[in-house]
């Protein structure tokens, strides 16, 4: 049994207009899991994810990350749970690839020499080092998404949360990001991906959670839930429709 890294009890979140975004969600995630959070648009996936990083705080209920209450340990939580947003363009703060990757460590007031060392290592790992002086706005979609991942990785997170990581990406960009995510999981990171299109990633996942109207409707292994996806407005992967089961998207 793997150690629990995220533990959520009776999480509820209501927006300022009274709309109930998350309704009494309880679940836990173990270290090293690869979780897909699936659901159609407006099902509450993004709202749920933002609670894991402390960007939104629960109206009721409690979230523990590594045993610490998120509401009381925001900085610790954000160091443990890194978040990659849907739109990489608006996530980018630095004016070169290197500066962008260094942003998180500068916020943690890490020494400059350590920052340079860590950023260089992460950029090399993600094959972005040759672009270190480029302006992020001139990168391709896949490179921008990888840079957003680099900006998170320098902070040594144990959990990485992705919100629609493949949206607006072309085929090569999707391959770049997908292989990066798979490698991160293999190197021990816990991965949580929110998406309405599971085709690309489902064969890699160890677990799928289906959300609808702020509720967790299903939670289980991908192969046991694959045939129920379309009843929640999520497209069933082609390989499953053709009777081939779950086939890896990366060949």
């Amino acid at each position: 049994m793997q150690k629990l890294i995220i533990d959520i009890n009776a999480l509820c979140h209501t927006f300022s207009d009274g709309y109930l975004g998350i309704k009494n969600v309880s679940l836990s995630i173990s270290k090293g899991e690869f979780v897909i959070l699936a659901g159609k648009n407006g099902s509450g996936k993004t709202t749920f994810l933002r609670h894991l990083n402390g960007l939104l705080l629960p109206d009721s209920g409690v979230i523990f990350v590594n045993g610490h209450d998120v509401s009381k340990h925001l900085i610790q939580t954000r160091k443990t749970v890194g978040m990659v947003f849907q739109d990489a363009d608006t996530q980018i703060v630095g004016d070169t690839v290197f500066d962008e990757a260094a942003f998180g460590l500068e916020n943690l007031k890490v020494k400059r020499s350590k920052i340079n060392e860590k950023v260089t290592q992460v950029l090399e790992d993600l094959n972005l080092f040759h672009l270190k002086n480029r302006s992020p706005s001139t990168l391709s979609g896949g490179e921008k998404r990888k840079l957003a991942i680099a900006g998170i990785l320098v902070m040594n997170p144990e959990v990485i949360v992705f919100d629609e990581p493949f949206s607006n990406l072309d085929y090569p960009g999707t391959i770049q990001v997908l292989s990066t995510i798979i490698n991160l999981n293999r190197s021990g990171h816990t991965i949580i991906i929110a998406t309405h299109d599971v085709e690309t990633i489902i064969s890699e996942a160890t677990r799928i959670i289906i959300m609808e109207e702020g509720l967790v409707k299903e939670d289980g292994k991908p192969d046991s839930l694959i045939k129920y996806l379309e009843s929640y407005g999520i497209k069933e992967p082609c390989s499953s429709k053709l009777g081939l089961g779950l086939q890896p998207w990366l060949t």
């Binding site: 500066d99 007031k109 902070m155």
Partner: protein, 251 residues
């Protein structure tokens, strides 16, 4: 791909690219102030120096002038306004308005001074990374009490970094409207309103996303201090700029 403005930083290894940003700031302030009292011959002398540095920085002066053609049009209006409003020996009159010799001379001088200040600023922004500008602002504001220098520096850096994103969004909105025959609308006020309102909405939404992205990476005011990398040529450049400023003021 990002929208590149005439002021966008371009990578390079010229002397100006490598010069410490604090030195560049000091030089630009000194020269711009002495420009206020410079005569035409001094302006011409400084223009030649600027041409030399444009060349050294690997920039094509004609392409640069083309990219600031609307500013040059504005200078033309300043010139006309001066020529028409300054009293003196009348050269010729029409419809009750007269152009004077003194007005013509002053118009040329004022327009030329503005033009040189503009070119100096352009050379500075093309050869200086926005992150270095941020670092310099932070350094200059540090001794001033009650000024949150780190916050001011981040605000400046974000404004500079967000310009290409905003321009790209404006272009997208404009193209989307043109695709629906917005060109047929001849009223410029209506055309601008239709462009500005969705642009503002998009900009505010992007700013919201940026705030979340910064917060998720533990943004706070107490950050690692910026790093300055002097090239070792700062003293000769400072002496040179002092001599140029004296020449501009006295010639």
């Amino acid at each position: 791909m990002a929208y590149v403005t005439p002021f966008t930083y371009r990578q390079g290894q010229s002397l100006l690219h490598l010069l410490d940003v604090r030195c560049k700031f000091f030089m630009i302030c000194l020269i711009s102030m002495s420009m206020l009292s410079a005569h035409l011959s001094a302006c011409f002398f400084y223009f030649l120096i600027l041409l030399f540095f444009f060349n050294k920085a690997g920039l094509n002066i004609f392409a640069t002038l083309n990219s600031i053609k609307y500013f040059i049009l504005l200078l033309f209006f300043i010139f006309i306004a001066r020529a028409l409003t300054v009293k003196g020996d009348i050269l010729f009159s029409f419809y009750g308005m007269s152009i004077t010799e003194q007005g013509l001379n002053e118009g040329i001088l004022v327009a030329f001074r503005f033009f040189l200040v503009m070119l100096t600023g352009l050379l500075f922004s093309i050869t200086t990374k926005p992150s270095s500008v941020k670092s310099a602002v932070q350094w200059f504001f540090k001794p001033i009490p009650f000024v949150p220098e780190k916050r001011v520096a981040v605000m400046i850096s974000l404004s500079l970094g967000f310009m290409p994103v905003i321009l790209k969004q404006a272009k997208e909105i404009s193209d989307a409207q043109k695709a629906r025959c917005s060109d047929l609308q001849k009223n410029p006020v209506k055309r601008i309103t239709r462009l500005v309102l969705p642009l503002l909405k998009k900009t505010f939404l992007s700013a919201d996303s940026l705030v979340l992205a910064m917060e998720s990476r533990c943004y706070n005011d107490d950050r690692t201090d910026p790093e300055f990398l002097p090239s070792g040529k700062e003293i000769p450049f400072l002496i040179g700029s002092f001599i140029i400023s004296l020449s501009l003021a006295c010639l």
